[in-house]
């Protein structure tokens, strides 16, 4: 084995050591916690627990150590490591180093593992009697995750993908790609000095959202293991009810953070990517939404059980399924199976067998355990009354669950294809195929969200219910009525039935928001500490309103209406044409606005180009400037990677992004002047219209011309009339100064026309006319108006805050319970 100069092998060795240490310590913790649960007497129990704890602390230290080591490698640009080379480069701003971490699969597994460590640590500190059985599951999950970054071959099967591998060991350096580093087909010992820079982070990910969205989302992912671990621990210990109060804050925490993480992804897509929206029913998005929905189901059946003894079995099932679906979504997004249906799945790392094992190793034991214990889980023989709160909580949870099954069923189409060898593909209108079903669910769930808090457990007195519910109902009806009448919601692309469904759902979501907001004052009497649930539901109502209005009223304002350009493509009549080309300096009509592209700017070291686009309201005259930006020809790849910019109003956003720029190759001015002989009054055609030679004069009205008093000036006045009947004037000038003849051409930028006046002959005036794209500076962009988008963001913030408040409240309650017992 030759040794190479310029390599830093120590960090990699430390990293590999810690990876193995983490694998062993998590396995050790699993076994020791298992022994502790199985131990016959308390002394044995405690001694195993102590061993387990030190093993888990070792695990925490190793994972944190792996993190620090990898950070060190990336931060110091040690490009001999494949991970650093693939995901970073010298230019990368320090704040994005963390983004490099989770750009790759390995780093995102580490992030997940890190959050498990944090959560496990909290459980060790707080959940005394549940610690051992719960930690068995979490330690085992840590073991499973540790195998994902192991990177060894076991009987020719690749287990894990290691972030500390060297480029030269990965076949990434070959004589073809890297000739300078090779000598007669052998890697030079100083090869490292020839690798001057890394491949770098995808520019689309160089964004603050990429720094904060993955950690929050993965915390949500990681947190779902806690309710799962509690549920399986309860089944295992046959203590079917004791876990309920303890798991409640954990379940709420998982749902709150997961929901926030998902919608941060939506906000990222909306704010910084050119997806033109915040949600597209992409499989990757669905795969994280579904566990959230099921978690919400579980929280609600848990509450129903707490107060009435009903729905315990479904609570078990929901919390188990939530985590299993997290694992399933990990399988979907990382195995490459979604390749043909998703825009942002991870690449296949060749670990599908391992990912499938990772899934099954949790699915089988937990579901078998559930089935085994099913009959033993206590149920209340008495039927719940139809007017009781628990009945409707259960119905709501069931509907949420069915909608989750619907979403994951549709998302799993590629899995079905693989299993059954079919070749089905998603339908034409993907978003509509989800929306048309889920809008019905959202209608019912909105109504249930509104009324459930007003129902009582066991039985509700009809008069008391009516007395408290009539006011919110009337207010919601009035608000909805005014939205329906004045809101101009007429989304009729999919027919009147769907439009009606939108209006009904707007009512139910307004109802949910109003009823829960009022409940804060009428139900919990304004005690904020108890208002968590109402606040969260109020936020949920706002989210629904925001989603419904912003999607049904999303308006494209860059419709290409220009009469010249369209209608020469096949079938162009049935296709929307959302791209509009703005020529620099020319105001273009866009819906409510006149829009002008008037300049660009760059501010190094920021590698982005900023384009200045001015929007001017046609009626009010109010104007604002947007700066959509883009990586132009990023590291010579000849591509445009754009980020949008938007003007935020309280009730709407105006949103635009660049879709195309002039191609620099085409931009060389290759056109030449074509001579024309014309007399005053003559007309000639060009490709987009015609022009008239109006006459000739002895002085020029043009500015910025250097004319000496002794010079003779001949100016030709031309009027250009384009096909869309816009009129422009041009004035090419001929200047005689002494013996010198100087022709000053004039340009009609909007029409790509250049005129030059070159002299006179008997037959008429000699004009040179040139049509050239190269003179033009332009941008092509899309622009939208998103109404009510802020209602959505506000709703998410309130929902998260309300959930965390409820979690805090339940932690306090549990603490008081414990104190009482003592």
């Amino acid at each position: 084995m030759p040794s190479y100069t310029g390599e830093h092998l120590l960090p990699g060795q430390i990293g590999n050591f810690l990876t193995v240490l983490s694998l062993i310590s998590s396995l050790f913790a699993t076994i020791a916690y298992f022994k502790s649960v199985k131990a016959k007497n308390s002394i044995e129990q405690l001694s195993w627990k102590k061993i387990a704890r030190s093993a888990f602390v070792t695990e925490i230290i190793s994972v944190v150590g792996i993190f620090i080591t990898l950070y060190y490698i990336i931060y110091n640009h040690q490009f001999e490591y494949a991970y650093a080379w693939k995901h970073s480069n010298l230019e990368l701003e320090t704040k994005y180093i963390l983004s490099c971490f989770w750009e790759g699969q390995e780093g995102s597994f580490l992030l997940w593992s890190f959050w498990h460590c944090v959560l496990g640590g909290i459980i060790i500190l707080r959940e005394k009697e549940w610690e051992a059985p719960v930690m068995v599951t979490i330690s085992f999950a840590q073991f499973a995750l540790a195998t994902m970054v192991l990177g060894v071959f076991f009987f020719n099967i690749k287990i894990g993908s290691n972030p500390f591998v060297l480029m030269r060991n990965e076949g990434m350096l070959s004589p073809d790609q890297f000739p300078i580093g090779f000598d007669n087909g052998i890697l030079k010992t100083d090869y490292r000095s020839f690798i001057s820079d890394g491949n770098g982070l995808n520019p689309l990910l160089q964004n603050y959202w990429m720094v904060i969205h993955p950690p929050v989302l993965f915390l949500g992912f990681a947190a779902t293991i806690v309710p799962f671990a509690f549920a399986t621990a309860a089944l295992w210990r046959r203590d079917y009810t004791g876990w309920i109060p303890v798991v409640r804050p954990w379940a709420i925490f998982a749902a709150a953070v997961l929901g926030l993480g998902i919608m941060m992804g939506g906000a990222w897509a909306y704010e910084s990517l050119t997806f033109g929206g915040y949600w597209a029913w992409d499989p990757v998005e669905n795969a994280s939404l579904v566990p959230w929905i099921i978690g919400i189901s579980g929280i609600h059946t848990l509450i129903a059980f707490k107060h009435s003894g009903q729905s315990l079995r479904s609570t078990f099932l929901f919390f188990i399924l939530q985590f299993l679906l997290i694992n399933y979504s990990t399988f979907l997004t990382r195995s490459g199976i979604l390749g043909d249906t998703s825009v942002h799945a991870f690449t296949d790392l060749g670990m599908n067998g391992q990912l499938l094992t990772f899934l099954l190793v949790f699915v089988l034991p937990s579901l078998i355990l559930f089935a085994w214990n099913y009959k033993k889980i206590p149920v209340v023989a008495k039927e719940e009354a139809i007017d009781s709160r628990e009945f409707w909580l259960f119905v709501g949870a069931l509907l949420l669950f069915i909608s989750a099954i619907f979403i994951i069923g549709k998302t799993s189409l590629p899995v079905g294809n693989k299993l059954f060898g079919t070749k089905f593909a998603p339908p034409q209108e993907i978003e509509y195929s989800y929306n048309k079903v889920l809008i019905l669910f959202s209608f019912i769930i909105g109504i249930l969200t509104a009324i459930s808090q007003y129902l009582k457990y066991k039985q509700t007195s009809r008069s008391a219910f009516l007395k408290s519910i009539w006011l919110p109902t009337v207010i919601a009806a009035v608000i909805t009525f005014s939205i329906s009448v004045f809101g101009n919601i007429n989304f009729n692309k999919f027919g009147i039935g769907f439009l009606a469904a939108i209006h009904f759902s707007i009512f139910s979501s307004v109802y949910a928001a109003v009823a829960n907001f009022m409940y804060i004052f009428t139900g919990v009497k304004g005690k904020m500490i108890k208002a968590g649930a109402s606040l969260a539901h109020f936020g949920f109502g706002l989210v629904l309103i925001g989603v419904l209005i912003s999607s049904s009223k999303k308006e494209v304002i860059s419709w290409n209406r220009s009469g010249i350009m369209v209608n020469f493509g096949e079938g162009s009549t049935e296709n929307p044409a959302e791209n509009l080309t703005l020529v620099k300096g020319v105001a273009t009509d866009m819906g409510k606005y006149m829009v002008t592209y008037f300049g660009d700017s760059i501010n190094p070291p920021d590698p982005k180009h900023y384009f200045k686009v001015k929007f001017e309201d046609k009626k009010s005259g109010e104007s604002f400037i947007l700066f959509p930006d883009a990586f132009v020809n990023f590291r010579g790849n000849g591509q445009l990677m754009a980020n949008p910019d938007s003007k935020h109003y309280l009730h709407k956003d105006v949103f635009t992004y660049i879709t195309s720029l002039p191609n620099p190759d085409k931009n060389k001015d290759t056109a030449s002047f074509i001579p024309h002989i014309m007399k005053p009054g003559d007309t000639a055609f060009y490709s987009h219209g015609y022009y008239v030679l109006e006459g000739i004069s002895r002085s020029s009205a043009r500015k910025n011309m250097i004319i000496n008093p002794t010079d003779s000036v001949f100016a030709v006045n031309i009027t250009v009339v384009s096909k869309d009947s816009s009129r422009y004037s041009a004035e090419p000038v001929l200047i005689l100064s002494g013996n010198q003849v100087k022709a000053v051409a004039d340009t009609v930028v909007a029409q790509n026309l250049v005129f030059a006046f070159t002299g006179a002959e008997k037959e008429g005036l000699k004009l040179g006319v040139k049509e050239s794209d190269a003179i033009l500076q332009y941008v092509t962009l899309k622009a939208y108006v998103f109404p009510a988008i802020n209602v959505l963001w506000l709703g998410i913030i309130i929902m998260t805050f309300g959930s965390l408040l409820a979690m805090y409240n339940h932690i306090q309650k549990n603490r008081k319970q414990v104190l009482k017992k003592v």
Binding site: K423, Q428, N560, V566
Partner: protein
């Protein structure tokens, strides 16, 4: 039978109904030749960019910012022209080793609604040139 059981049955029945009805919306993956056999039907084609015989990607934002045309070839050797009326060529189209195209086959070309680009690697290009500029 409890009310809850009735509710569960009803909800499940509705859910099954919805699932069955949504199967009808599904599209299929086709090859270029099988797509030509069913013009006007919404389908998915998996193919790659065809640049043989001087075939070019045509896009000129000044002429029409919504018109893009290019040629594709699939694994069975079927060839077709594609017209996309929603704008510029997607990022990485030239680098891609595979594209999923959604749309309808017409007499003159495949009229495409949506293009999904599959690169050798999604976020990183492992075959990327190794930067060897002097330090």
């Amino acid at each position: 039978m409890k009310t809850v059981h009735i509710v569960i049955l009803v909800v499940i029945a509705v859910a099954i109904g919805i699932l069955i009805s949504s199967i009808g919306d599904l599209s299929t993956y086709d090859t270029i030749s099988s797509a030509k056999a069913k013009p006007g039907k919404f389908i998915h084609i998996i193919a790659r960019l065809d640049t043989t015989e001087g075939k070019k990607i045509v896009y000129d934002a000044l002429k029409n910012p919504n018109y893009l045309s290019f040629h594709i070839v699939d694994s069975l050797g079927g060839r077709a022209k594609v017209v996309y009326l929603k704008g510029q060529p997607p990022t990485d189209m030239v680098k891609s080793d595979r594209m999923v195209l959604k749309g309808k086959m017409t007499d003159s070309a495949f009229l495409c609604d949506d293009i999904l680009i599959k690169c050798p690697s999604k976020y990183t290009d492992s075959k990327a040139k190794i930067s060897t500029a002097a330090k």
